[in-house]
Amino acid sequence: MSLLNRSYSVLPGFRLGFGISLAWLGLIVLLPLAMMIVATSRMGWPAFLGTVLDERVLASLRLSFVAAAIAAAINAVFGLLLAWVLVRYRLFGKRFIDAMVDLPFALPTSVAGIALTTLYAPNGLVGQYLAPLGIKVAYTPLGIVVALTFIGLPFVVRTVQPVLQELERELEEAASCLGANRWQTVRRVIFPTVLPALITGTTLAFARATGEYGSVIFIAGNIPLVSEIAPLIIVSKLDQYDQNGATAVAVVMLLISFALLLLINSLQWWSARRNGAQR
């Protein structure tokens, strides 16, 4: 184990624990990932670019990322608001609401998909009130945003909530003593402290939404060039036995999500350093 440069510990079981995790990681995550790289490298540039630059593929990638960005922005606003209400206010049924926030984590995506579609269809429980206003949700890109908002909500709430809980009241009292009104305190004292967590949560929601499939395909209507998301393109290419085409689209999505992962990690590093500097 000299390669790992492990510092001495009296605790046993490092080799066992490390061995099991590395073996399982290799088998389940790294091997399939490597296969993907092999499959892409066999394809060659012309085939790869030909698939990726296809009009339908580009439209689907654009839709996936734009819809995910809008949903993430909605979640940033309402997630922050919800976390604030849950931490700061006394509210009837707060425990229940707090538990319900995790519903999108626990509810399978296909169930969420058919439930939202039925609700937002023109004759559905919610859709019937929107239809006379000329707002069509189901089977349009707007429906995709609704589904992705549902999926991403807990990410923002659960990242912001602990930071709000840790927030020291004394700081706000000090701001108030120094003559700040409540709005100034919220904007200048509370918001900057919460911001790193808010950005992290929003990015997590965005990352999850870009790859989401189950909840979206029901409500999207899947009209080519209009409401067809990138994961669906992968599935339909596979259904047509076009493995190379599916792989090409998947590689683009993978690269983008890895870039996002990197961004999240550096954000966390940045906020940890900033908090460290403050204390």
């Binding site: 490390f18 099991i20 206010y89 296909s110 439930a115 919610v126």
Partner: protein
């Protein structure tokens, strides 16, 4: 919080409207979709609901879902404990990389995850061809479904345990070892009791995702009715056939599972908070402070 004016509270109308917006959002986006699943499932009576659940294809789907979760969850449980032990209890080079790699499945689209296994075990790959020659089918069969499920639920247990074990530190285990306990005994008697709630939480989340996974499983399953259909896939097929009662009936099982998951999670959090409070007496402190504010 008292109702009188306070320097660290908002005006009453601000509080009311914030609460109102938050409640409306939860109601519209979370509660109504959940309730509508049950409403739709029971919309044509209990008889049809039960008939949709006991129909052979639905029963086969339920069986397959339970089977694949029963394989995937224990595997990831063992992995999660092993990874948390190595990462939270030892210092070694490449620890950050290992942690990042464990989180990787979270940032891969489920559909892409499924595709990876098709590329690895499909008929066009050398591995798949070798297995097919020996009469083993992975893709469009149960092993593929289990593999895809393991992939998407890979980080759950490890992610729950690592921060928990890191915050607890190794003092108690070291004490047990110094007092003469074997490594295994200190693990069973000290480590496991300390992390039991976090572990349970990780397992139920892992299980909920395993039983509900759609995208990854959909790519590797082949959608053979009664054979390789899990409950979420069966829901999709029924829905696309306009059999809404059947689709929502099967969906209601998954929704119940989600509710159960949330209830267990809340219970765990409640117990954890109580245990922590008993240990630190923070409840008393908070109560005293609040009383002081009211006075």
């Amino acid at each position: 919080m008292s109702d009188s004016y306070s320097a660290t509270a908002e005006a009453r109308w601000v509080r009311w409207s914030l609460c109102g917006v938050a409640l409306a959002f939860v109601f519209l986006f979370l509660l109504i979709p959940l309730l509508s699943v049950f409403q739709q499932a029971l919309s044509h009576g209990v008889g049809l609901y039960l008939a949709a659940l006991t129909e052979p294809d639905a029963r086969a789907a339920i069986g397959l879902t339970v089977r694949s979760a029963a394989i995937a969850v224990p595997l990831n449980l063992v992995f999660g404990i092993a990874a948390a032990w190595a990462i939270a209890r030892f210092e070694f080079r490449g620890k950050t990389l290992l942690t990042t790699l464990i989180d990787l499945p979270f940032s891969v689209s489920p559909v892409v995850a499924g595709l990876m296994f098709v590329l690895l075990f499909g008929v066009n790959s050398p591995v798949g061809a070798f297995l097919a020659a020996h009469g083993m089918k992975v893709i469009f069969a149960e092993p593929g479904i289990v593999l895809a499920t393991v992939f998407v639920t890979f980080p759950f247990v490890a992610r729950e345990l690592i921060p928990l074990m890191q915050s607890q530190g190794a003092d108690e285990e070291q004490a047990a070892l110094v007092l003469g306990a074997s490594g295994w005994k200190s693990f069973v008697r000290v480590t496991l009791p300390n992390v039991k709630w976090g572990l349970l939480y990780g397992v139920i989340l892992c299980n909920a995702r395993a039983m509900g996974e759609f995208g990854a499983v959909s790519v590797v399953s082949g959608h053979i009715r009664g054979e390789t259909n899990t409950i979420p896939l069966h829901v999709e097929i029924l829905y696309n056939e306009y059999n809404f009662v059947g689709a929502f009936a099967c969906a209601s099982i998954l929704a119940l599972l989600a509710l159960l998951t949330l209830v267990i999670k809340s219970l765990i959090e409640w117990r954890q908070a109580r245990e922590q409070n008993q240990a630190s007496g923070r409840v008393q402190l908070a109560r005293v402070r609040r009383a002081g504010e009211h006075a």
